[in-house]
């Protein structure tokens, strides 16, 4: 997928089908397979090798293009880790593995989607497909909110550090740091929502508008076919799982 820009609908289809398959296919094999695909996907967006270089002749970390992918992979794993802990507390090992693989697939797929999906292209694609611009914006804003909030949280942490609050140390210190992060993050986000709503209103983003698509992303027939094929695979797996050959 390196260097390839898939249509936003294709990205959304992959992001919907992978977790669906993780839950439909029998665990642990099926769920493990979808997880492998999801984890590989987290490495792909922007993972471009420097011309002439390859991972075989130098350390992986020496290729700046791989770093974002590795960071995404780490984010997915770290985000999913607490779920494994809770599952282990609540279930036996086989069930923990079965559900944990599925949950990790969902997390990894979402992490990949947030990185791979350009909200502006999604809006353009949805508008070109006849969707309402405000509905398209609402959906796209959901994805763009993650990196925006992440950047803001980073700024707040840095500001709190300048004021002597360390986010490191024992659990009490970390909880204090979390409180000092969460409150300004939530309050500033709520304040910004108000102003952004006014700004979007004055810039014409109102219900019922017919927005002009500026640069609708190309949607080749092959991609459209691939999307339908993915949905068909999902449907077939569902039928097989619950009707033809129910698993235990």
């Amino acid at each position: 997928m390196t260097g390839v820009r898939l249509h936003p609908f294709t990205l959304l289809t992959i992001a919907a089908v992978l977790p669906a398959l993780a839950w439909i296919l029998p665990a642990p094999d099926g769920a493990a397979a979808t997880l492998v695909v999801a984890l590989v996907l987290t490495l792909t967006p922007g993972a471009k090798l420097t011309p002439g270089a390859s991972p075989g002749n130098a350390s992986l970390w020496s290729f700046p293009g791989w770093r974002p992918g590795l960071v995404r992979l780490r984010t997915a794993v770290v985000t999913a880790a607490p779920f494994w802990l809770f599952l282990l507390l609540l279930h036996d090992v086989p069930t923990t593995i079965a559900i944990g693989l599925r949950v990790t697939t969902m997390v990894a797929t979402f992490v990949w989607l947030v990185a791979a999906l350009d909200p502006a292209r999604l809006v353009e694609a949805m508008v070109a497909a006849g969707w309402s611009a405000s509905v398209a914006y609402l959906l796209a804003a959901t994805f763009s909110a993650v990196p925006v909030l992440k950047a803001r949280a980073q700024r707040i942490v840095e500001a709190q550090r300048c004021r002597g609050l360390s986010p490191r140390g024992g659990i009490p210190a970390r909880l204090r740091a979390l409180r000092a992060l969460a409150l300004p993050l939530v309050l500033s986000a709520l304040h910004e929502v108000d102003e952004r709503a006014l700004a979007l209103e004055t810039r014409g983003l109102v219900p019922g508008i017919r927005r002009t698509p500026l640069a609708p992303p190309p949607d080749p027939a092959a991609e459209r076919a691939a999307r339908w094929a993915l949905l068909l695979v999902c449907l077939v797996a569902l039928v097989r799982r619950f009707i033809v050959q129910p698993f235990s």
Binding site: P119, A120, R203, R211
Partner: protein, 258 residues
């Protein structure tokens, strides 16, 4: 021809007892620049929200009296980073966001966007990611984004707050150009030193009500100086114990005329 008319407009924010605007009557004609001045909380920003038809329609609250607009309006709010669409990865696309929402044909969008970028001296930044711009650059992008929608009534809330001296000077000149083109401009600013060259009329708001309306000479008035709304030279003149009338601008002081 009047672009905006407020007739005894009073406005209450939601869940508040006292009005933020009290029986404000005001006209802004096409080709006219009207400046709103006043202390913090005087009601200038609220008046702009009412004029933009955002209050109470979007933010809630209650409006008594009437607000009538002849033209479509565009409002520039004071914090540029909350006004970017978040849907554009270049300055050009950010400026085109509004015109595209109006459903204009692409050639008209391109024409208006390029014109607005040129006016705000943003063409060299057209391919930059808005997230990488400074506050002043981003403010110019937002102003360009509003102007690209070709509003007949342009509302500015502290438009120079993020701009450096050169950027502010460019903006004040641009506002005069907009007025010459027939646009109505309503401007809330604390940069009173610029107003003698920019505004045709000054409206002094106090506690949500209009205290005085007049030419920019109002800003050399003793009462305005006492309220912290006098121009710098008038305030210095008064603080130095020199006799009234006070000069409005440095040029006036140099020429020895108030």
């Amino acid at each position: 021809m009047k672009s905006l008319t407020l007739d005894r407009a009073s406005f209450w924010y939601a869940a508040t007892q006292s009005p933020a605007l009290r029986a404000v009557s005001l006209d802004v004609a096409q080709g006219e620049v009207v400046a709103l001045v006043g202390a913090l909380g005087a009601g200038a920003s609220t008046l702009l929200l009412v004029a933009a038809d955002l209050a109470p329609r979007v933010i809630g609250g209650r409006l008594e009296g009437s607000m009538t607009r002849r033209d479509r309006s565009g409002i520039v709010l004071p914090t540029p980073w909350t006004q970017i669409s978040g849907m554009a990865f270049t300055v050009w696309d950010e400026v085109a966001f509004g015109p595209a929402n109006l459903g204009w044909p692409t050639h008209e969008i391109a024409r208006q966007v390029n014109r607005a970028l040129e006016r705000l001296e943003l063409l060299p930044l057209a391919s930059r990611d808005p997230a990488t711009l400074s506050g002043g650059e981003l403010q110019r992008v937002i102003i360009a984004a509003i102007l690209a929608m070709d509003p007949g009534l342009v509302l500015f809330d502290e438009p120079a707050a993020e701009l450096d001296a050169a950027g502010a000077a460019m903006l004040w000149q641009l506002i005069r150009v907009l007025a010459r083109e027939g646009k109505a401009v309503l401007l809330a600013t604390s940069a009173v030193d610029a107003l003698p060259d920019v505004a045709d009329r000054v409206v002094w708001l106090e506690d949500g009500a209009v205290r005085a309306v007049g030419t920019p000479d109002l800003l050399a008035d003793g009462a305005a100086c006492d309220a912290g709304l006098g121009t710098s030279i008038a305030t210095v003149w008064r603080a130095g114990g020199l006799p009234a009338p006070y000069p409005l601008t440095v040029a006036h002081a140099v020429r020895g005329r108030p």
